[in-house]
Amino acid sequence: MRDLLGIIDLSEPTEGLGELTLHRTLGAVPFGGRYRVIDFTLSNMVNAGIRNVGILLNDRFGPLLDHIKDGKEWDLNRQRDGMFLLPAPLRTDSSEGLNSNLSNLRHNRSYLEKSRQEYALFSGCSMVTNLDYRVAFAYHLEKDADITVIYNQDGKLASHPPYTAVVTDGEGRITDIALNPRECTSRKVSLNMFIMRKDLLITLVDYYSARQKRDLFTDAIMPRLDELKIFGYEHRGYVGVINSLKSYYQHSMDLLKPEVWRDLFFSHGLINTKVKHEAPVRYLEGSRVQDSLIATGCTIEGTVENSILFRGVEVGPGVTIKDSIIMQKAKLGPGVSLRNVILDKDVTISAGKSLAGDPSFPMVIAKSSEV
């Protein structure tokens, strides 16, 4: 895998995530009690033996940089290769070039050229999964493909548009690609992860960025479907997509199933994240916790059901949390009751307050709010 360069793209759309991405890029959205969304893609790459990872930065990347620092938690603070931060061509007078991965790749062309790897794995970071890229890469070589697109067909992703459906023939070659098709052409949904030779990537970037195109897949790969040998590789594990509040909430709640918890966090290696040295969770007498994911640093004396608690949340006596996601360091006054609520980091809820959203539409309280 020393031959594979990893590129992580942060330009996927975030409008659907509302307040969760108000001040942070998609990769920095907190997920699963202690992680940020980018941890999954980054850890999968490193667990597969990839040692050179470039991250295409757009806007709102402050929280992301604070999280990944020098890449040490992923063993990417290396003398040779390691982690590279690749900023978009920002200009003070325009936002042109933002959220365009082609323009960003063009801007960072020298990084691609100088990297000694022969192949590139390009991945968005909206897919939360644990997959073994070594197998996908071996498939790519075995098929002698120009491009390999990783897909999943468990059927759930198509209910969270936007998505890209692919159709494959008996050999696994992709014969059709459709964006959000109205009629269901295929259950196979692209995970926005592609493997190709690095020189092919550079050729595509040069050609299409010069023609003002913006997105690698839709603008540069899709038009070449007939001309290039594009294969599909099926990843069968659990996949969650983070592209709307609904999908965020649903895929968070999936983690409360032991089989999903095992698959996502253990199947092909552990998911690494920034370590904060929090103490083990303290359950006091009288606590009632069921069907919940609890991160270290929490102290629980109240009731928690079907919920996710991030690090350092204190649930005092008389506090009730149901069907909710409570991010880091929330301060909940005595007698607070929460249901179908997502509390972003550092939210304070004063005593006795009761908040409820709808199961299909959770209430989101923005970072550092006081209720």
Binding site: A279, P280, G286, S287, V289, Q290, D291
Partner: protein
């Protein structure tokens, strides 16, 4: 190398033989403690939080786990240029080499290491105590007294003084008498095994002690009495917070249980004095639909589907449906099968307790059992599998060496 004001020497070579099977393959400082830590984390974190950036860790007995764990010290922020953590096993010198004979000899053998840093002061620590202490305050005290040596002391119950080195100090804190494990103690201030010495003085005492063939080369037995006899100004530095020597099965179990009190004396979640540890990033613990967790401490990566009361559960442990764990310490990676019972036990790392097994049950009337632990704490070794048919009577200490022949009555 850059000159340092103070270098810490952490003695981590002890076998901890009173922990029995828990230290069969690792040194006492590497024994897991408190849900996610190892004992040495407390001392290393104290160093880091006290602003000490040069720490020598002296290893000897079963060092592999400890070596791998400490690594380059990143977890404690001790991966520093011109210092940081250095693991110091005994090594061969031009006049031959030998094992560390005693605490003082261990430091004597590393005189060259300390001299590299040319420090004013040396802090001697032991890697087998649980406490949070700011050594920088002790250093200020040492300086303000103009001491040659300062010994941290803690008041202990008078009836326990025979287990400790006891200091009698005058009103200014100057030590006037030292008794090592006395039958009749003159003071109840026990040495915590934490010393600060002026390096120049200590060096000459270490060299003199080494030249004395009758010495057992120990700080408590030899160096400190010799310094006192020579009239060196030695001071006692009183520490009044939580401190526990976890050298026995009982004290290890008790110290773990201390953490799950409603208002524990030693707080682990203090953001100003974090206890650092090397951890793999396991996911947050998942507590299942029928789980019942009360008065307990649980770490990352645990899957709890059963009942956990009044227990400390380490990283990556699985407790299946219908299993009951009470008053126990469950070390990392343990699996407890469906319907298994574990009461007042310490279960070693990665051990599997199969479905239906019963650990820590009372003996049946007339049942002949070999009790190794009078206080009734059952200990199961690491990396073994307890078959589901087994019934292990409370107070048993079970090692795999005596595994093949079970007494009839153990099979339920």
């Amino acid at each position: 190398m850059q000159k340092k004001e103070l270098v810490a020497m952490l003695l981590a070579g002890g076998q901890g033989s009173r922990l029995g099977i828990l230290t069969k393959k690792l040194a006492k400082p590497a024994v897991p403690f408190g849900g996610k830590y190892r004992i040495i984390d407390f001392t290393l974190s104290n160093c880091s939080n006290s602003g000490i950036d040069s720490v020598g860790v002296l290893t000897q007995y079963q060092p592999l786990t400890l070596n791998a764990y400490i690594g380059i010290g990143s977890a404690w922020d001790l991966d520093r240029s011109g210092g940081g953590v250095s693991v110091l096993p005994p090594y061969v010198k031009d006049q031959g080499g030998e094992w560390y004979k005693g605490t003082a000899n261990a430091v004597y053998q590393n005189i060259d290491f300390i001299a590299q840093h040319d420090p004013e002061y040396v802090l001697i620590l032991s890697g087998d105590h649980i406490y949070k202490m700011d050594y920088s305050k002790m250093l200020s005290y040492h300086k303000s007294k103009g001491a040659a040596g300062t010994i941290a002391v803690i008041p202990v119950p008078w009836e326990e003084t025979h287990r400790f080195g006891v200091m009698k100090a005058d009103e200014q804190g100057r030590i006037v008498e030292f008794q090592e494990k006395p039958k009749v103690a003159k003071s109840n201030l026990a040495s915590m095994g934490v010393y600060i010495f002026n390096w120049k003085e200590l060096r000459s005492y270490l060299e003199a002690d080494e030249a004395d063939p009758k010495s057992s080369n120990d700080f408590g037995k030899n160096i400190i009495p010799k310094m006192l006899r020579a009239g060196e100004p030695l001071y006692a530095y009183a520490f009044r917070e939580y401190w526990k020597d976890v050298g026995t099965v009982d004290s290890l179990w008790e110290a773990n249980m201390d953490l799950i009190k409603k208002d524990p004396d030693l707080k682990l979640n203090d953001s100003k004095w974090k206890i650092f540890s090397l951890n793999h990033t396991y996911p947050p613990q998942l507590v299942g639909p029928l789980a019942d967790v009360q008065g307990s401490l649980l770490s990352d990566g645990c899957l709890v589907l059963g009942r956990v009361h009044h227990s400390v559960i380490f990283t990556g442990t699985q407790i299946e449906e219908g299993a009951e764990v009470t008053d126990s310490v469950i070390m990392p990676g343990v699996k407890i099968g469906k319907g298994a019972l574990v009461h007042k036990a310490i279960i070693g790392e990665n051990t599997i307790v199969e479905a239906g097994a019963k650990i820590g049950v009372p003996a049946r009337p007339g049942e002949k059992v070999e009790i190794s632990n009078e206080n009734g704490i059952t200990v199961i070794e690491d990396n073994v599998c307890v078959p589901g048919t087994m019934r292990i009577v409370e107070g048993t200490v079970l090692s795999v060496a005596e595994w093949p022949e079970f007494p009839e009555e153990w099979i339920s």
